[in-house]
C-alpha cells in the first residue's frame, strides 16, 4: 500500500507538472531569433555578432492580478516577436525578459533591481497595477532605468503631492484621473445628466483614483453627488449599495469598479429594474458585455477607451493574438503592444541602448505611429501621454458602438 501510494503520488505530481508545462498559452518570453549564427566560411562578409537589446517586463502572471497581467505580457510578447521578424531595433534583435511579481510591491522592487543589475535591461515595461509603479518609482530613479507602464495613478510619475517628477517613470496610457474625468464628463456634458451616484471598489487602487478624480470634477462643474457607495473586490452582492443608489434619485452612476464588480453590479441593477445610465472606465470594454448574464442588462453604458476598437489596423494584431493564444485580446493587450512600439521608437531615437539616452528620447518622443494613435507624444512635464484621443463607447443590449472622439469642455480650458 505504501509503495503504491508513493507511486501514485509521484505519478500525479509528474502529470500535473507535465500538464502545467504543456500549456499552450504560457506567456513566457520567446527567445529571440538566434542572435549569432555561426559564421560560415563563405565569400560573403561574415555577419556582425550582435548583442540583443534587452527589454525587461514586470507583470503579474500567477497572483491576484493574473488575468490582466497575463493579457499585458502577451501584448508585449507579440510586439517583440513582430519587431524581431522585421529585423529588430537598430539592426539588433530584441530580447524580452518578463518576470512575475504576483502583484506584490516588495517582489516588484527586487525584480526591477534584478532587471537593472543582472539582466542589464535597457528599459523596463510595467503592468497595469499602480502599487507596483508606486513602489518601484524611487528604485527606478536610483538605478537610472526607465520604468514604462500602464499604472493608473499619476503619483507614480509625479510624486505623492503631484508636484515633483520621477525622472525615470513613464506612463503609456491616460491616467486614471483623466479616465475618471472623461468618463464622468460625458453623461454630464452630452446627455445632460446632473445627478450622479458613485460606486467604488475601495480596495482597488485604480478604482479609487478614478472615483476621486470624478468627485473632484463633479465638485468643480456642479454635478450633484447623490450618494457615494463603497464595495470590495470580493463582493458578490451589492444590494445594499444599489438600493441606496436607487433611492438617492441619481440620474447616472459613475461605476468605478473592476470588471468582476461591474458584472455583478450590472446584473443586479438589471434585476432591480434600475435603468439609469452607467459610466466608468476601460473595464467596461471587451469582455465585459459577454460576461453579464443577459445582454439586455448591458445597456445605457458609456465609457472612454483610448483607441478605436474597430479600427482596421487592429485586425492584424488581433488575428495574430488569437492565433498565438486562442483568446481574443482586450484593450490591455493592445496598449501593451503599443508600449513596446513606443519603446522601440525611443531606443531608435536614442540611437543606442544606453539607459539615460533612452530616457531622454522617451521624454520628448512624438509622432510614434502605434495602435492607439498615429501620433503618440509624451508630455515632458508629466511623463504622461499627451492628447491621447478618448473614444466614447456605448453599450446597448450587449453591443458596443463607437460614439466618436471626445474631449470634455472641462479639459479643453
Amino acid at each position: 500500500m505504501k509503495k503504491l501510494l508513493v507511486a501514485v503520488l509521484t505519478l500525479v505530481l509528474a502529470v500535473s507538472l507535465v500538464a502545467a508545462c504543456g500549456q499552450p498559452a504560457k506567456p513566457t518570453p520567446t527567445p529571440p531569433p538566434a542572435p549569432t549564427k555561426p559564421a560560415e566560411p563563405t565569400a560573403q562578409p561574415t555577419p556582425e555578432v550582435k548583442e540583443p537589446i534587452i527589454i525587461g517586463g514586470i507583470t503579474d502572471l500567477t497572483g491576484n492580478g493574473s488575468v490582466l497581467g497575463t493579457a499585458v505580457a502577451r501584448g508585449w510578447e507579440l510586439a517583440v516577436n513582430d519587431i524581431n521578424a522585421k529585423g529588430g531595433i537598430l539592426g539588433r534583435p530584441v530580447k524580452l525578459i518578463v518576470y512575475d511579481c504576483r502583484s506584490d510591491p516588495q517582489e516588484a522592487i527586487s525584480l526591477f533591481k534584478r532587471l537593472a543589475d543582472v539582466d542589464k535591461a535597457a528599459i523596463v515595461v510595467g503592468p497595469p497595477f499602480s502599487n507596483v509603479g508606486l513602489a518601484v518609482a524611487p528604485v527606478a530613479d536610483e538605478k537610472g532605468l526607465v520604468f514604462f507602464g500602464q499604472f493608473g495613478d499619476p503619483r507614480c510619475m509625479l510624486g505623492e503631492k503631484l508636484d515633483s517628477l520621477h525622472p525615470y517613470m513613464f506612463l503609456v496610457q491616460p491616467s486614471a484621473i483623466q479616465t475618471g474625468i472623461i468618463g464622468g464628463a460625458y453623461p454630464f456634458e452630452k446627455l445632460g445628466l446632473k445627478k450622479a451616484a458613485v460606486l467604488v471598489a475601495e480596495d482597488h487602487a485604480y478604482c479609487v483614483t478614478q472615483a476621486n478624480a470624478f468627485l473632484d470634477y463633479a465638485k468643480k462643474v456642479g454635478i450633484e453627488i447623490t450618494t457615494f457607495q463603497k464595495c470590495k473586490i470580493a463582493d458578490t452582492d451589492l444590494t445594499v449599495q444599489l438600493t441606496a443608489i436607487k433611492n438617492s434619485g441619481a440620474e447616472f452612476l459613475f461605476n468605478a469598479c473592476n470588471t468582476q464588480l461591474l458584472v455583478v453590479a450590472t446584473n443586479q441593477m438589471y434585476q432591480m429594474g434600475m435603468d439609469i445610465v452607467q459610466c466608468g472606465s476601460l473595464d467596461f470594454s471587451y469582455p465585459f458585455a459577454t460576461l453579464v448574464s443577459d445582454p439586455k442588462a448591458a445597456s445605457r453604458i458609456y465609457f472612454p477607451v483610448n483607441l478605436d476598437m474597430e479600427a482596421p489596423h487592429l485586425a492584424d494584431v488581433t488575428a495574430a493574438y488569437i492565433a498565438a493564444y486562442n483568446e481574443k485580446p482586450t484593450p490591455k493587450s493592445w496598449i501593451a503592444y503599443d508600449t513596446i512600439l513606443v519603446t522601440k521608437a525611443a531606443i531608435e531615437k536614442a540611437g543606442s541602448d544606453n539607459r539615460a539616452a533612452i530616457r531622454d528620447a522617451l521624454e520628448n518622443i512624438s509622432g510614434v505611429k502605434c495602435l492607439i494613435t498615429d501620433d503618440f507624444r509624451i508630455d515632458p512635464k508629466t511623463h504622461m501621454p499627451l492628447g491621447l484621443g478618448m473614444y466614447i463607447y456605448n453599450i446597448e443590449n450587449g453591443v458596443y458602438t463607437n460614439l466618436g472622439y471626445y474631449v470634455p469642455e472641462y479639459l479643453k480650458q
Partner: protein, 295 residues
C-alpha cells in the same frame, strides 16, 4: 418604500448567506467527520468551476449537466487531494495543523494550475436561465440565489439522512469518533474517507458553478471565498452540518445589517465584533454540541 427597502436588503442578506452555505456545506462535511479542515476546498472549487465552464463551451451543457460535470470533476479532484495531501498524514501524524499545511499547499497548487491555463481573460458561464429573476412590485428575486440555497439545503438534508439512516452513514459516524476501532470492526476506513472526500468535492464543484454564476470566473475565486467557508463551518458548530447552514444564513444577514448600520466599508469590523461576542456567549457553536476534539 421602507418596507420594500428592508425586504430587498433581507433578500440580499439571505442570498449572501446562500453563497456561504453552498461553500460551507462541503467544508463542514469534512470537518464534522474527520475533525480537520480541508483548505484545498477552494482549489477544488475553482478547478471544477473551470472544468464546468469547458463543458458549457465544448458540449454546450445546460445548468444541470454543468453542475453534474463540475460535481464529478470536483469529486475526482478531491480524491486526488485526499491521496496526495491527507492519506499518509492521517496514518502517521496526529498534528491537526499538518493537515492545514498540507491542504493549503494543495489548494495553492490547484489554483496555480488553473492560473496557468486560464489567465488572460475573464470568463463567465452562459446564461442558463430563460428568466434569471422575477420581480414583485419593487422587489426582485434572483432565481440562481434561491436555487443555490435550495440546493444547499436539499444536499444537506440528503447528507444528514444518509449519515443517520444508512450503513455507510453509520460507518462514517463511527469513523468520526474513533478510526482505529472502526477499522477493527471491519470497515474499510480508507474507502469511507475517500467517499467522504468525493462527496465534499462534488459539493465544492457545485459551489464553484454557483459562485461563477454569481460573479465571473477568475482563478482567484477559490482563495477569495473559501476563508468565509472556513469561518462559517467553525462558527456553525465545529462540524455540525445543519449548524453550518444556519451559520451561513446568519453571517449573510449580519453582514448585510452591518453594511446598513456602519456603511459597507466598515461592515467587516462590525462582523468581527459580532463573531467575537458570539463565540464568547456560545463557545460550543450554533449546533450546541461539542464535537470531539483531536488533541
Amino acid at each position: 418604500m421602507n418596507f420594500s427597502y428592508y425586504l430587498q436588503l433581507l433578500i440580499g442578506g439571505v442570498s449572501n448567506g446562500a453563497m456561504y452555505a453552498i461553500i460551507a456545506v462541503g467544508w463542514a462535511l469534512i470537518f464534522s467527520i474527520l475533525k480537520f479542515s480541508n483548505f484545498a476546498h477552494g482549489g477544488t472549487m475553482v478547478c471544477s468551476a473551470y472544468l464546468g465552464l469547458l463543458a458549457t463551451r465544448i458540449i454546450g451543457a445546460n445548468l444541470w449537466l454543468t453542475l453534474a460535470v463540475a460535481a464529478l470533476c470536483g469529486g475526482l479532484i478531491n480524491i486526488l487531494v485526499e491521496l496526495i495531501s491527507f492519506h499518509r498524514l492521517r496514518k502517521s501524524s496526529k498534528q491537526v495543523l499538518l493537515f492545514f499545511v498540507s491542504s493549503i499547499t494543495m489548494g495553492m497548487l490547484l489554483q496555480n494550475l488553473v492560473t496557468l491555463r486560464f489567465s488572460g481573460l475573464f470568463y463567465s458561464y452562459p446564461n442558463f436561465f430563460k428568466q434569471r429573476f422575477f420581480r414583485i412590485g419593487n422587489i426582485s428575486f434572483d432565481i440562481s440565489n434561491f436555487m443555490m440555497l435550495a440546493i444547499a439545503a436539499v444536499i444537506l438534508g440528503i447528507l444528514i439522512l444518509v449519515l443517520q439512516k444508512t450503513r455507510f452513514g453509520m460507518a462514517v459516524r463511527a469513523l468520526s469518533v474513533d478510526p482505529r476501532t472502526t477499522s477493527l470492526m471491519g470497515v474499510n476506513v480508507d474507502l469511507v474517507v475517500l467517499a467522504t472526500f468525493f462527496i465534499a468535492g462534488a459539493l465544492a464543484g457545485v459551489a464553484g458553478v454557483f459562485v461563477g454564476i454569481r460573479t465571473i470566473l477568475s482563478p482567484q475565486i477559490g482563495s477569495m471565498y473559501t476563508v468565509k467557508g472556513f469561518m462559517v463551518a467553525v462558527i456553525g458548530g465545529l462540524g455540525s452540518l445543519n449548524g453550518a447552514l444556519f451559520a451561513s444564513l446568519i453571517l449573510g444577514l449580519v453582514e448585510t445589517a452591518f453594511s446598513v448600520i456602519l456603511g459597507t466599508s466598515l461592515a467587516p469590523v462590525g462582523t468581527f465584533f459580532f463573531v467575537l461576542i458570539f463565540l464568547f456567549l456560545r463557545p460550543q457553536g450554533l449546533a450546541g454540541v461539542f464535537a470531539m476534539e483531536k488533541a
